[in-house]
Amino acid sequence: MTTVSIQKDDRQIMSGRFARILRRPEVGAAVAALLIFTYFSSTTTAFLSTAGVSTWLYSSSLFGVLAVAGALLMIGGEFDLSVGAMTGATGLIVGIMTTEYGINIWLSIILALSFALSIGAANAYISMKTGVPSFIVTLAALFILQGANLAITKLLTGTVSIQGMPDVTGYESAKAIFGSTLNFGGMDIKISIVWWLAVTVVASWVLLRTRTGNWIFGVGGAFTSARQVGIPVVKVRMGLFMATSAAGWLVGMLQLFGVSTVQATTGLGQEFSYVICAVVGGCLLTGGYGSAIGAAVGALIYGMTLQGIVFAQWDNNWLKLFLGVLLLLAVLVNLYVRRRAGDRS
Protein backbone atom coordinates (compact mmCIF):
# COMPACT_ATOMS: atom_id res chain seq x y z
CA MET A 1 0.00 0.00 0.00
CA THR A 2 2.81 2.44 0.82
CA THR A 3 4.12 2.53 -2.73
CA VAL A 4 0.67 3.33 -4.02
CA SER A 5 0.18 6.29 -1.73
CA ILE A 6 3.60 7.69 -2.55
CA GLN A 7 2.75 7.70 -6.24
CA LYS A 8 -0.42 9.53 -5.50
CA ASP A 9 1.23 12.25 -3.50
CA ASP A 10 3.53 13.08 -6.39
CA ARG A 11 0.55 13.65 -8.55
CA GLN A 12 -1.30 15.81 -6.12
CA ILE A 13 1.26 18.57 -6.01
CA MET A 14 -0.39 20.16 -9.06
CA SER A 15 -3.90 20.09 -7.67
CA GLY A 16 -3.85 23.31 -5.70
CA ARG A 17 -6.37 26.04 -6.14
CA PHE A 18 -4.38 27.70 -8.90
CA ALA A 19 -3.99 24.51 -10.89
CA ARG A 20 -7.69 23.88 -10.54
CA ILE A 21 -8.45 27.29 -12.06
CA LEU A 22 -6.02 26.68 -14.91
CA ARG A 23 -7.75 23.38 -15.59
CA ARG A 24 -11.04 25.10 -16.32
CA PRO A 25 -11.93 25.00 -20.02
CA GLU A 26 -12.76 28.69 -20.37
CA VAL A 27 -9.51 30.15 -19.01
CA GLY A 28 -7.67 30.30 -22.34
CA ALA A 29 -10.59 32.07 -23.99
CA ALA A 30 -10.86 34.58 -21.13
CA VAL A 31 -7.19 35.51 -21.52
CA ALA A 32 -7.58 35.89 -25.29
CA ALA A 33 -10.71 38.02 -24.83
CA LEU A 34 -8.87 40.30 -22.42
CA LEU A 35 -5.97 40.74 -24.85
CA ILE A 36 -8.30 41.54 -27.75
CA PHE A 37 -10.28 43.95 -25.62
CA THR A 38 -7.13 45.72 -24.47
CA TYR A 39 -5.76 45.91 -27.98
CA PHE A 40 -8.81 47.46 -29.63
CA SER A 41 -9.49 49.72 -26.65
CA SER A 42 -6.03 51.23 -26.85
CA THR A 43 -5.73 51.48 -30.63
CA THR A 44 -9.18 52.83 -31.51
CA THR A 45 -11.32 55.48 -29.83
CA ALA A 46 -14.65 54.12 -31.03
CA PHE A 47 -14.23 50.69 -29.40
CA LEU A 48 -14.71 51.90 -25.83
CA SER A 49 -17.34 54.57 -26.61
CA THR A 50 -20.85 53.73 -25.39
CA ALA A 51 -22.04 53.27 -28.97
CA GLY A 52 -19.02 51.11 -29.70
CA VAL A 53 -19.52 48.85 -26.71
CA SER A 54 -23.19 48.33 -27.45
CA THR A 55 -22.33 47.49 -31.07
CA TRP A 56 -19.85 44.73 -30.28
CA LEU A 57 -21.96 43.42 -27.43
CA TYR A 58 -24.96 43.16 -29.76
CA SER A 59 -22.88 41.41 -32.36
CA SER A 60 -21.51 39.00 -29.74
CA SER A 61 -24.95 38.29 -28.34
CA LEU A 62 -26.31 36.87 -31.60
CA PHE A 63 -23.33 34.53 -31.98
CA GLY A 64 -23.43 33.88 -28.26
CA VAL A 65 -26.90 32.36 -28.03
CA LEU A 66 -26.02 29.89 -30.80
CA ALA A 67 -22.53 29.23 -29.44
CA VAL A 68 -23.81 28.38 -25.96
CA ALA A 69 -26.51 25.99 -27.20
CA GLY A 70 -24.10 24.56 -29.76
CA ALA A 71 -21.49 24.06 -27.04
CA LEU A 72 -23.90 21.87 -25.07
CA LEU A 73 -24.53 19.82 -28.19
CA MET A 74 -20.79 19.53 -28.84
CA ILE A 75 -20.13 18.48 -25.26
CA GLY A 76 -22.80 15.84 -25.88
CA GLY A 77 -20.69 14.64 -28.80
CA GLU A 78 -22.68 15.94 -31.77
CA PHE A 79 -22.72 18.79 -34.27
CA ASP A 80 -25.40 20.92 -35.84
CA LEU A 81 -24.34 22.88 -38.89
CA SER A 82 -27.91 23.71 -39.88
CA VAL A 83 -28.52 26.05 -36.98
CA GLY A 84 -27.25 29.13 -38.86
CA ALA A 85 -29.73 28.54 -41.67
CA MET A 86 -32.35 27.90 -38.99
CA THR A 87 -32.08 31.54 -37.86
CA GLY A 88 -33.01 32.57 -41.40
CA ALA A 89 -35.74 29.97 -41.80
CA THR A 90 -37.57 30.85 -38.59
CA GLY A 91 -37.33 34.58 -39.28
CA LEU A 92 -38.72 34.05 -42.77
CA ILE A 93 -41.55 31.84 -41.49
CA VAL A 94 -42.72 34.58 -39.13
CA GLY A 95 -42.11 37.31 -41.71
CA ILE A 96 -44.01 35.60 -44.52
CA MET A 97 -46.89 34.35 -42.38
CA THR A 98 -47.53 37.79 -40.90
CA THR A 99 -46.87 40.12 -43.83
CA GLU A 100 -48.21 37.93 -46.64
CA TYR A 101 -51.02 36.02 -44.98
CA GLY A 102 -51.96 38.17 -42.01
CA ILE A 103 -51.59 35.34 -39.51
CA ASN A 104 -51.38 36.36 -35.86
CA ILE A 105 -47.80 37.31 -34.99
CA TRP A 106 -47.56 35.26 -31.79
CA LEU A 107 -49.09 32.24 -33.46
CA SER A 108 -46.49 32.60 -36.22
CA ILE A 109 -43.71 32.81 -33.65
CA ILE A 110 -44.93 29.64 -31.92
CA LEU A 111 -45.26 27.84 -35.26
CA ALA A 112 -41.71 28.86 -36.18
CA LEU A 113 -40.54 27.41 -32.87
CA SER A 114 -42.36 24.13 -33.52
CA PHE A 115 -40.77 24.04 -36.95
CA ALA A 116 -37.31 24.50 -35.43
CA LEU A 117 -37.94 21.82 -32.80
CA SER A 118 -39.11 19.31 -35.38
CA ILE A 119 -36.08 19.90 -37.60
CA GLY A 120 -33.88 19.41 -34.54
CA ALA A 121 -35.70 16.20 -33.66
CA ALA A 122 -35.42 15.00 -37.27
CA ASN A 123 -31.66 15.67 -37.31
CA ALA A 124 -31.30 13.72 -34.08
CA TYR A 125 -33.54 10.88 -35.16
CA ILE A 126 -31.83 10.36 -38.51
CA SER A 127 -28.29 10.52 -37.19
CA MET A 128 -29.00 8.25 -34.23
CA LYS A 129 -31.14 5.67 -36.03
CA THR A 130 -28.76 5.27 -38.93
CA GLY A 131 -25.47 6.02 -37.22
CA VAL A 132 -24.60 8.54 -39.94
CA PRO A 133 -22.46 11.26 -38.30
CA SER A 134 -24.51 14.32 -37.35
CA PHE A 135 -21.94 16.40 -39.23
CA ILE A 136 -23.25 14.94 -42.50
CA VAL A 137 -26.92 14.86 -41.54
CA THR A 138 -26.95 18.49 -40.44
CA LEU A 139 -24.85 19.52 -43.46
CA ALA A 140 -27.67 18.15 -45.57
CA ALA A 141 -30.20 19.98 -43.39
CA LEU A 142 -28.16 23.16 -43.86
CA PHE A 143 -28.42 22.95 -47.65
CA ILE A 144 -32.08 22.03 -47.52
CA LEU A 145 -32.89 24.99 -45.30
CA GLN A 146 -30.73 27.44 -47.25
CA GLY A 147 -32.27 26.36 -50.53
CA ALA A 148 -35.79 26.42 -49.13
CA ASN A 149 -35.22 29.84 -47.54
CA LEU A 150 -34.42 31.40 -50.90
CA ALA A 151 -36.68 29.40 -53.18
CA ILE A 152 -39.81 29.51 -51.04
CA THR A 153 -39.39 33.17 -50.14
CA LYS A 154 -39.05 34.09 -53.82
CA LEU A 155 -41.97 31.86 -54.72
CA LEU A 156 -44.33 33.37 -52.13
CA THR A 157 -43.26 37.00 -52.01
CA GLY A 158 -41.46 37.58 -55.31
CA THR A 159 -38.51 39.12 -53.44
CA VAL A 160 -35.67 37.90 -51.25
CA SER A 161 -36.41 39.99 -48.19
CA ILE A 162 -39.38 40.61 -45.94
CA GLN A 163 -40.71 44.17 -45.81
CA GLY A 164 -43.48 45.76 -43.79
CA MET A 165 -42.99 43.99 -40.47
CA PRO A 166 -43.62 47.17 -38.38
CA ASP A 167 -47.16 47.42 -39.82
CA VAL A 168 -48.17 43.97 -38.59
CA THR A 169 -50.67 43.93 -35.70
CA GLY A 170 -49.00 42.95 -32.47
CA TYR A 171 -45.55 43.82 -33.80
CA GLU A 172 -44.82 46.07 -30.83
CA SER A 173 -45.53 43.34 -28.28
CA ALA A 174 -43.13 40.95 -29.97
CA LYS A 175 -40.53 43.66 -30.47
CA ALA A 176 -40.65 44.41 -26.76
CA ILE A 177 -39.46 40.89 -26.04
CA PHE A 178 -37.09 40.22 -28.93
CA GLY A 179 -36.04 43.57 -30.33
CA SER A 180 -36.19 46.34 -27.75
CA THR A 181 -33.33 48.45 -26.51
CA LEU A 182 -32.78 49.18 -22.85
CA ASN A 183 -30.95 52.24 -21.64
CA PHE A 184 -28.45 51.31 -19.01
CA GLY A 185 -26.30 54.09 -17.54
CA GLY A 186 -26.35 56.09 -20.78
CA MET A 187 -25.54 53.01 -22.84
CA ASP A 188 -27.96 51.38 -25.25
CA ILE A 189 -28.26 47.71 -24.43
CA LYS A 190 -30.09 45.61 -26.99
CA ILE A 191 -32.35 43.06 -25.36
CA SER A 192 -30.55 40.27 -27.23
CA ILE A 193 -27.64 40.85 -24.85
CA VAL A 194 -29.97 40.05 -21.94
CA TRP A 195 -31.09 36.89 -23.76
CA TRP A 196 -27.47 35.95 -24.34
CA LEU A 197 -26.66 36.30 -20.65
CA ALA A 198 -29.80 34.43 -19.63
CA VAL A 199 -29.10 31.55 -22.02
CA THR A 200 -25.51 31.36 -20.77
CA VAL A 201 -26.54 31.29 -17.11
CA VAL A 202 -29.23 28.67 -17.64
CA ALA A 203 -26.99 26.50 -19.84
CA SER A 204 -24.14 26.70 -17.39
CA TRP A 205 -26.40 25.78 -14.49
CA VAL A 206 -27.86 22.83 -16.36
CA LEU A 207 -24.43 21.64 -17.40
CA LEU A 208 -22.70 21.85 -14.03
CA ARG A 209 -25.43 21.56 -11.45
CA THR A 210 -28.08 19.21 -12.80
CA ARG A 211 -28.29 15.52 -13.54
CA THR A 212 -29.00 16.35 -17.18
CA GLY A 213 -25.67 18.16 -17.35
CA ASN A 214 -23.86 15.17 -15.91
CA TRP A 215 -25.50 13.01 -18.54
CA ILE A 216 -24.49 15.40 -21.33
CA PHE A 217 -20.83 15.11 -20.31
CA GLY A 218 -21.24 11.34 -20.00
CA VAL A 219 -22.87 10.83 -23.39
CA GLY A 220 -20.27 12.97 -25.15
CA GLY A 221 -17.28 11.66 -23.22
CA ALA A 222 -17.91 7.92 -23.46
CA PHE A 223 -21.10 6.89 -25.22
CA THR A 224 -20.93 3.16 -24.40
CA SER A 225 -20.07 3.77 -20.77
CA ALA A 226 -22.96 6.20 -20.48
CA ARG A 227 -25.33 3.59 -21.81
CA GLN A 228 -23.91 0.93 -19.49
CA VAL A 229 -24.62 3.01 -16.40
CA GLY A 230 -28.22 3.50 -17.51
CA ILE A 231 -28.22 6.99 -19.01
CA PRO A 232 -31.00 7.42 -21.61
CA VAL A 233 -28.48 8.34 -24.29
CA VAL A 234 -30.95 8.77 -27.13
CA LYS A 235 -33.17 11.09 -25.11
CA VAL A 236 -30.21 13.21 -24.03
CA ARG A 237 -28.99 13.74 -27.58
CA MET A 238 -32.50 14.31 -28.89
CA GLY A 239 -32.95 17.03 -26.29
CA LEU A 240 -29.66 18.64 -27.20
CA PHE A 241 -30.48 18.79 -30.91
CA MET A 242 -33.87 20.28 -30.16
CA ALA A 243 -32.41 22.83 -27.77
CA THR A 244 -29.86 23.87 -30.40
CA SER A 245 -32.58 24.32 -33.01
CA ALA A 246 -34.60 26.31 -30.49
CA ALA A 247 -31.57 28.57 -30.02
CA GLY A 248 -31.56 29.02 -33.80
CA TRP A 249 -35.19 30.08 -33.57
CA LEU A 250 -34.41 32.51 -30.73
CA VAL A 251 -31.64 34.16 -32.75
CA GLY A 252 -33.97 34.25 -35.76
CA MET A 253 -36.49 36.20 -33.66
CA LEU A 254 -33.80 38.47 -32.19
CA GLN A 255 -32.61 39.36 -35.70
CA LEU A 256 -36.09 39.76 -37.16
CA PHE A 257 -37.32 42.08 -34.42
CA GLY A 258 -33.94 43.74 -33.93
CA VAL A 259 -33.84 45.15 -37.47
CA SER A 260 -37.50 44.68 -38.53
CA THR A 261 -36.60 42.80 -41.66
CA VAL A 262 -35.09 39.49 -42.69
CA GLN A 263 -33.16 38.48 -45.78
CA ALA A 264 -33.60 35.08 -47.37
CA THR A 265 -29.82 34.74 -47.21
CA THR A 266 -29.69 35.17 -43.42
CA GLY A 267 -27.26 32.75 -41.84
CA LEU A 268 -25.40 32.10 -45.09
CA GLY A 269 -21.72 31.55 -44.38
CA GLN A 270 -22.34 31.35 -40.64
CA GLU A 271 -22.34 27.55 -40.45
CA PHE A 272 -19.08 27.36 -38.60
CA SER A 273 -19.03 30.59 -36.64
CA TYR A 274 -20.73 29.15 -33.59
CA VAL A 275 -18.56 26.03 -33.73
CA ILE A 276 -15.53 28.34 -33.75
CA CYS A 277 -16.90 30.26 -30.75
CA ALA A 278 -17.49 27.04 -28.83
CA VAL A 279 -14.06 25.57 -29.62
CA VAL A 280 -12.30 28.84 -28.82
CA GLY A 281 -14.25 28.73 -25.57
CA GLY A 282 -12.69 25.38 -24.69
CA CYS A 283 -15.08 22.77 -26.11
CA LEU A 284 -13.50 19.65 -27.51
CA LEU A 285 -14.57 18.81 -31.07
CA THR A 286 -14.75 15.19 -29.97
CA GLY A 287 -17.22 15.88 -27.16
CA GLY A 288 -17.23 15.31 -23.43
CA TYR A 289 -15.47 18.50 -22.44
CA GLY A 290 -16.23 22.21 -22.53
CA SER A 291 -18.24 24.94 -20.90
CA ALA A 292 -21.17 27.21 -21.62
CA ILE A 293 -19.40 30.24 -20.18
CA GLY A 294 -16.41 29.46 -22.38
CA ALA A 295 -18.63 29.43 -25.47
CA ALA A 296 -20.10 32.78 -24.42
CA VAL A 297 -16.58 34.18 -24.08
CA GLY A 298 -15.76 32.69 -27.49
CA ALA A 299 -18.70 34.61 -28.93
CA LEU A 300 -17.47 37.75 -27.18
CA ILE A 301 -14.11 37.31 -28.91
CA TYR A 302 -15.88 36.86 -32.24
CA GLY A 303 -18.04 39.96 -31.75
CA MET A 304 -15.21 42.15 -30.48
CA THR A 305 -12.96 41.14 -33.36
CA LEU A 306 -15.69 41.57 -35.96
CA GLN A 307 -16.48 45.12 -34.83
CA GLY A 308 -12.96 46.02 -33.67
CA ILE A 309 -11.64 45.45 -37.18
CA VAL A 310 -14.30 47.83 -38.50
CA PHE A 311 -13.42 50.46 -35.89
CA ALA A 312 -9.74 50.10 -36.67
CA GLN A 313 -10.65 50.58 -40.34
CA TRP A 314 -8.86 47.47 -41.47
CA ASP A 315 -9.95 45.44 -44.41
CA ASN A 316 -12.56 43.13 -42.91
CA ASN A 317 -11.07 40.10 -44.62
CA TRP A 318 -8.58 40.06 -41.76
CA LEU A 319 -11.41 38.73 -39.59
CA LYS A 320 -11.36 35.29 -41.19
CA LEU A 321 -7.60 35.06 -41.08
CA PHE A 322 -7.63 36.02 -37.43
CA LEU A 323 -10.41 33.56 -36.57
CA GLY A 324 -8.62 30.78 -38.39
CA VAL A 325 -5.45 31.36 -36.38
CA LEU A 326 -7.43 31.60 -33.16
CA LEU A 327 -9.30 28.38 -33.92
CA LEU A 328 -6.05 26.54 -34.61
CA LEU A 329 -4.52 27.79 -31.36
CA ALA A 330 -7.64 26.84 -29.43
CA VAL A 331 -7.69 23.32 -30.86
CA LEU A 332 -4.03 22.86 -29.93
CA VAL A 333 -4.59 24.13 -26.40
CA ASN A 334 -7.62 21.86 -26.01
CA LEU A 335 -5.64 18.89 -27.25
CA TYR A 336 -2.95 19.61 -24.68
CA VAL A 337 -5.57 19.89 -21.93
CA ARG A 338 -7.05 16.56 -22.94
CA ARG A 339 -3.68 14.83 -22.88
CA ARG A 340 -2.99 16.27 -19.45
CA ALA A 341 -6.33 14.97 -18.26
CA GLY A 342 -5.20 11.49 -19.20
CA ASP A 343 -7.66 10.76 -21.97
CA ARG A 344 -5.88 7.98 -23.79
CA SER A 345 -8.64 7.22 -26.25
Binding site: K8, W205, A222, S225, Q228, I231, A341, G342
Partner: protein, 266 residues
Protein backbone atom coordinates in the same frame (compact mmCIF):
# COMPACT_ATOMS: atom_id res chain seq x y z
CA UNK B 1 -22.50 -19.93 3.84
CA UNK B 2 -24.97 -17.86 1.88
CA UNK B 3 -25.23 -18.50 -1.77
CA UNK B 4 -25.96 -15.27 -3.62
CA UNK B 5 -25.97 -16.33 -7.22
CA UNK B 6 -25.70 -19.67 -8.89
CA UNK B 7 -26.12 -21.33 -12.24
CA UNK B 8 -27.26 -24.90 -12.63
CA UNK B 9 -26.49 -26.72 -15.86
CA UNK B 10 -26.79 -23.59 -17.96
CA UNK B 11 -26.21 -23.57 -21.68
CA UNK B 12 -26.56 -20.94 -24.35
CA UNK B 13 -26.80 -21.32 -28.06
CA UNK B 14 -26.69 -18.59 -30.64
CA UNK B 15 -28.74 -20.02 -33.47
CA UNK B 16 -27.12 -23.34 -34.24
CA UNK B 17 -23.88 -22.48 -32.45
CA UNK B 18 -23.63 -23.87 -28.95
CA UNK B 19 -21.56 -21.31 -27.03
CA UNK B 20 -21.61 -22.97 -23.60
CA UNK B 21 -23.29 -26.04 -22.18
CA UNK B 22 -23.85 -27.79 -18.86
CA UNK B 23 -22.16 -25.27 -16.61
CA UNK B 24 -22.82 -25.09 -12.87
CA UNK B 25 -21.22 -22.81 -10.31
CA UNK B 26 -22.17 -20.73 -7.32
CA UNK B 27 -21.15 -17.38 -5.90
CA UNK B 28 -21.05 -17.23 -2.12
CA UNK B 29 -20.88 -14.16 0.08
CA UNK B 30 -17.34 -13.45 1.18
CA UNK B 31 -15.83 -15.73 -1.43
CA UNK B 32 -14.15 -15.30 -4.78
CA UNK B 33 -15.23 -17.50 -7.66
CA UNK B 34 -12.63 -17.47 -10.41
CA UNK B 35 -13.69 -18.31 -13.93
CA UNK B 36 -10.73 -19.27 -16.03
CA UNK B 37 -10.47 -20.11 -19.66
CA UNK B 38 -8.71 -19.27 -22.87
CA UNK B 39 -10.18 -16.94 -25.49
CA UNK B 40 -13.31 -18.54 -26.90
CA UNK B 41 -13.80 -20.80 -23.89
CA UNK B 42 -17.20 -19.23 -23.20
CA UNK B 43 -16.26 -16.84 -20.40
CA UNK B 44 -18.03 -13.89 -21.99
CA UNK B 45 -21.19 -15.85 -22.62
CA UNK B 46 -21.27 -16.98 -18.99
CA UNK B 47 -20.76 -13.40 -17.77
CA UNK B 48 -23.57 -12.25 -20.00
CA UNK B 49 -25.88 -14.83 -18.45
CA UNK B 50 -24.84 -13.86 -14.92
CA UNK B 51 -25.24 -10.15 -15.60
CA UNK B 52 -28.64 -10.44 -17.27
CA UNK B 53 -27.55 -9.59 -20.81
CA UNK B 54 -28.55 -13.05 -22.07
CA UNK B 55 -31.15 -15.46 -20.80
CA UNK B 56 -29.73 -19.01 -20.89
CA UNK B 57 -31.26 -21.39 -23.46
CA UNK B 58 -31.12 -24.21 -20.93
CA UNK B 59 -30.56 -24.60 -17.20
CA UNK B 60 -31.45 -22.16 -14.45
CA UNK B 61 -30.07 -19.09 -12.76
CA UNK B 62 -30.73 -18.79 -9.03
CA UNK B 63 -30.55 -15.62 -7.01
CA UNK B 64 -30.36 -16.25 -3.24
CA UNK B 65 -31.36 -19.83 -3.95
CA UNK B 66 -34.51 -18.90 -5.86
CA UNK B 67 -34.80 -19.64 -9.56
CA UNK B 68 -34.92 -16.29 -11.33
CA UNK B 69 -34.96 -15.05 -14.88
CA UNK B 70 -32.60 -12.11 -15.29
CA UNK B 71 -33.90 -10.64 -18.50
CA UNK B 72 -31.92 -7.40 -18.50
CA UNK B 73 -28.85 -5.86 -16.86
CA UNK B 74 -31.32 -3.74 -14.89
CA UNK B 75 -32.89 -6.92 -13.44
CA UNK B 76 -29.47 -8.14 -12.41
CA UNK B 77 -28.64 -4.80 -10.79
CA UNK B 78 -31.93 -4.82 -8.91
CA UNK B 79 -31.04 -8.29 -7.65
CA UNK B 80 -27.73 -6.89 -6.38
CA UNK B 81 -25.53 -8.24 -9.14
CA UNK B 82 -23.21 -5.62 -10.59
CA UNK B 83 -20.89 -6.12 -13.51
CA UNK B 84 -17.66 -4.21 -13.94
CA UNK B 85 -16.80 -4.41 -17.62
CA UNK B 86 -13.34 -4.22 -19.07
CA UNK B 87 -13.82 -0.62 -20.17
CA UNK B 88 -15.12 0.07 -16.62
CA UNK B 89 -17.98 2.27 -17.85
CA UNK B 90 -16.14 5.43 -16.89
CA UNK B 91 -15.83 8.72 -18.74
CA UNK B 92 -12.11 9.61 -18.70
CA UNK B 93 -12.47 13.41 -18.79
CA UNK B 94 -15.05 13.60 -16.02
CA UNK B 95 -14.04 14.14 -12.40
CA UNK B 96 -13.85 11.07 -10.17
CA UNK B 97 -16.93 11.96 -8.12
CA UNK B 98 -19.08 12.59 -11.19
CA UNK B 99 -18.03 9.23 -12.58
CA UNK B 100 -18.76 7.55 -9.29
CA UNK B 101 -22.38 8.71 -9.40
CA UNK B 102 -22.89 8.77 -13.18
CA UNK B 103 -26.36 7.51 -13.95
CA UNK B 104 -27.39 7.44 -10.28
CA UNK B 105 -26.82 11.04 -9.24
CA UNK B 106 -27.96 12.34 -5.85
CA UNK B 107 -30.19 15.36 -6.11
CA UNK B 108 -31.77 17.94 -3.86
CA UNK B 109 -34.38 20.67 -4.32
CA UNK B 110 -37.75 20.60 -6.04
CA UNK B 111 -39.26 21.07 -9.48
CA UNK B 112 -37.10 22.92 -11.97
CA UNK B 113 -34.63 23.77 -9.22
CA UNK B 114 -33.83 20.12 -8.65
CA UNK B 115 -30.07 20.00 -8.74
CA UNK B 116 -27.08 17.81 -8.04
CA UNK B 117 -26.12 17.41 -4.42
CA UNK B 118 -22.47 17.89 -5.29
CA UNK B 119 -21.19 18.25 -1.74
CA UNK B 120 -22.66 14.93 -0.57
CA UNK B 121 -21.55 13.14 -3.71
CA UNK B 122 -17.99 14.41 -3.30
CA UNK B 123 -17.74 13.33 0.30
CA UNK B 124 -19.39 9.95 -0.26
CA UNK B 125 -17.13 9.20 -3.22
CA UNK B 126 -14.08 10.18 -1.20
CA UNK B 127 -15.11 8.05 1.75
CA UNK B 128 -16.05 4.99 -0.30
CA UNK B 129 -12.75 5.15 -2.15
CA UNK B 130 -10.97 5.56 1.16
CA UNK B 131 -12.61 2.33 2.33
CA UNK B 132 -11.13 0.60 -0.69
CA UNK B 133 -7.73 1.94 0.26
CA UNK B 134 -7.52 4.72 -2.31
CA UNK B 135 -7.04 8.07 -0.68
CA UNK B 136 -7.55 10.85 -3.16
CA UNK B 137 -7.11 14.36 -1.86
CA UNK B 138 -8.94 15.67 -4.88
CA UNK B 139 -12.01 13.84 -6.21
CA UNK B 140 -12.25 16.66 -8.79
CA UNK B 141 -9.44 15.20 -10.86
CA UNK B 142 -10.51 13.57 -14.13
CA UNK B 143 -10.74 9.81 -13.67
CA UNK B 144 -8.46 9.40 -16.68
CA UNK B 145 -5.57 10.65 -14.54
CA UNK B 146 -5.85 7.67 -12.19
CA UNK B 147 -3.86 4.52 -12.80
CA UNK B 148 -5.53 1.48 -14.32
CA UNK B 149 -5.71 -0.28 -10.96
CA UNK B 150 -7.22 2.72 -9.24
CA UNK B 151 -9.85 3.10 -11.93
CA UNK B 152 -10.75 -0.54 -11.47
CA UNK B 153 -11.10 0.09 -7.76
CA UNK B 154 -13.35 3.09 -8.37
CA UNK B 155 -15.59 0.89 -10.49
CA UNK B 156 -15.68 -1.77 -7.75
CA UNK B 157 -16.33 0.79 -5.01
CA UNK B 158 -19.13 2.24 -7.12
CA UNK B 159 -20.77 -1.16 -7.54
CA UNK B 160 -20.50 -1.84 -3.81
CA UNK B 161 -21.92 1.54 -2.84
CA UNK B 162 -24.94 1.07 -5.09
CA UNK B 163 -25.97 -2.05 -3.28
CA UNK B 164 -24.18 -4.85 -5.06
CA UNK B 165 -24.16 -8.17 -3.20
CA UNK B 166 -22.19 -9.84 -5.92
CA UNK B 167 -19.82 -8.21 -8.38
CA UNK B 168 -18.67 -9.67 -11.64
CA UNK B 169 -15.26 -8.47 -12.74
CA UNK B 170 -14.61 -9.04 -16.43
CA UNK B 171 -10.86 -9.54 -16.92
CA UNK B 172 -9.92 -6.71 -14.56
CA UNK B 173 -6.21 -7.52 -14.64
CA UNK B 174 -5.70 -8.42 -18.27
CA UNK B 175 -4.73 -4.96 -19.49
CA UNK B 176 -2.52 -4.16 -16.52
CA UNK B 177 1.15 -4.49 -15.72
CA UNK B 178 2.38 -6.75 -12.93
CA UNK B 179 2.33 -4.06 -10.27
CA UNK B 180 -1.10 -2.68 -11.15
CA UNK B 181 -2.53 -6.17 -11.40
CA UNK B 182 -1.41 -6.92 -7.85
CA UNK B 183 -3.08 -3.69 -6.72
CA UNK B 184 -6.34 -4.88 -8.28
CA UNK B 185 -6.00 -8.28 -6.60
CA UNK B 186 -5.76 -6.47 -3.26
CA UNK B 187 -8.99 -4.62 -4.03
CA UNK B 188 -10.66 -7.90 -4.90
CA UNK B 189 -9.56 -9.32 -1.57
CA UNK B 190 -10.88 -6.20 0.11
CA UNK B 191 -14.26 -6.55 -1.55
CA UNK B 192 -14.37 -10.22 -0.54
CA UNK B 193 -13.49 -9.39 3.07
CA UNK B 194 -16.35 -6.90 3.20
CA UNK B 195 -18.74 -9.79 2.56
CA UNK B 196 -19.28 -9.50 -1.16
CA UNK B 197 -19.51 -12.41 -3.53
CA UNK B 198 -16.94 -11.83 -6.25
CA UNK B 199 -16.82 -13.40 -9.70
CA UNK B 200 -13.35 -12.90 -11.09
CA UNK B 201 -12.90 -13.67 -14.77
CA UNK B 202 -9.36 -14.06 -16.00
CA UNK B 203 -7.16 -16.21 -18.18
CA UNK B 204 -4.18 -15.92 -15.87
CA UNK B 205 -3.83 -18.67 -13.22
CA UNK B 206 -1.21 -16.60 -11.42
CA UNK B 207 -3.79 -13.90 -10.82
CA UNK B 208 -6.62 -16.25 -9.98
CA UNK B 209 -4.95 -18.70 -7.62
CA UNK B 210 -3.87 -16.38 -4.78
CA UNK B 211 -7.23 -14.67 -4.43
CA UNK B 212 -9.73 -17.36 -5.44
CA UNK B 213 -11.77 -19.70 -3.25
CA UNK B 214 -13.41 -21.69 -6.02
CA UNK B 215 -12.29 -22.20 -9.56
CA UNK B 216 -14.35 -22.92 -12.63
CA UNK B 217 -12.25 -23.93 -15.60
CA UNK B 218 -13.79 -23.59 -19.03
CA UNK B 219 -12.71 -24.94 -22.33
CA UNK B 220 -14.56 -24.74 -25.65
CA UNK B 221 -17.82 -23.91 -23.96
CA UNK B 222 -17.80 -26.68 -21.38
CA UNK B 223 -16.58 -27.02 -17.84
CA UNK B 224 -13.37 -28.98 -17.50
CA UNK B 225 -13.43 -28.76 -13.74
CA UNK B 226 -14.95 -27.00 -10.77
CA UNK B 227 -12.61 -27.03 -7.81
CA UNK B 228 -12.28 -25.82 -4.31
CA UNK B 229 -8.94 -24.22 -3.58
CA UNK B 230 -7.96 -27.19 -1.38
CA UNK B 231 -8.27 -29.55 -4.35
CA UNK B 232 -6.06 -27.59 -6.64
CA UNK B 233 -2.50 -26.43 -7.02
CA UNK B 234 -1.45 -23.69 -9.38
CA UNK B 235 0.52 -26.20 -11.46
CA UNK B 236 -2.47 -28.45 -11.83
CA UNK B 237 -4.63 -25.50 -12.81
CA UNK B 238 -2.15 -24.28 -15.42
CA UNK B 239 -1.90 -27.76 -16.82
CA UNK B 240 -5.66 -28.17 -17.03
CA UNK B 241 -6.12 -24.83 -18.64
CA UNK B 242 -3.48 -25.22 -21.26
CA UNK B 243 -4.32 -28.88 -21.74
CA UNK B 244 -1.44 -31.08 -20.64
CA UNK B 245 -1.12 -32.85 -23.99
CA UNK B 246 -1.22 -29.65 -25.96
CA UNK B 247 1.36 -28.12 -23.69
CA UNK B 248 3.82 -30.96 -24.15
CA UNK B 249 3.22 -30.96 -27.91
CA UNK B 250 3.93 -27.24 -27.91
CA UNK B 251 7.07 -27.75 -25.84
CA UNK B 252 8.24 -30.30 -28.40
CA UNK B 253 7.51 -27.98 -31.27
CA UNK B 254 9.34 -25.09 -29.71
CA UNK B 255 12.33 -27.10 -28.65
CA UNK B 256 15.39 -26.68 -30.82
CA UNK B 257 16.47 -29.62 -32.80
CA UNK B 258 20.08 -30.42 -32.01
CA UNK B 259 22.35 -28.59 -34.40
CA UNK B 260 19.81 -26.03 -35.59
CA UNK B 261 21.20 -23.24 -33.50
CA UNK B 262 22.75 -20.75 -35.90
CA UNK B 263 26.48 -20.80 -35.43
CA UNK B 264 28.08 -17.46 -34.92
CA UNK B 265 30.19 -16.28 -37.77
CA UNK B 266 33.10 -14.11 -36.87
Amino acid sequence: MTEILSVVNVGKSYGTVLAIRGISAEVVAGEVLCILGDNGAGKSTLIKILSGVHVPSEGTVKVNGVTTILSSPRDALDAGIATVYQDLAVVPLMPVWRNFFLGSELRKGFGIFKRLDAASMRSIAKQQLGDMGISLRDVEQPIGTLSGGERQAVAIARAVYFGAKAIILDEPTSALGVKQASVVLKYIAKARDSGLGVVFITHNPNHAYPVGDKFLLLKLGASIGYFDKSELTIEKMTKLMAGADEMSTLANELERKPGTRPSRKS
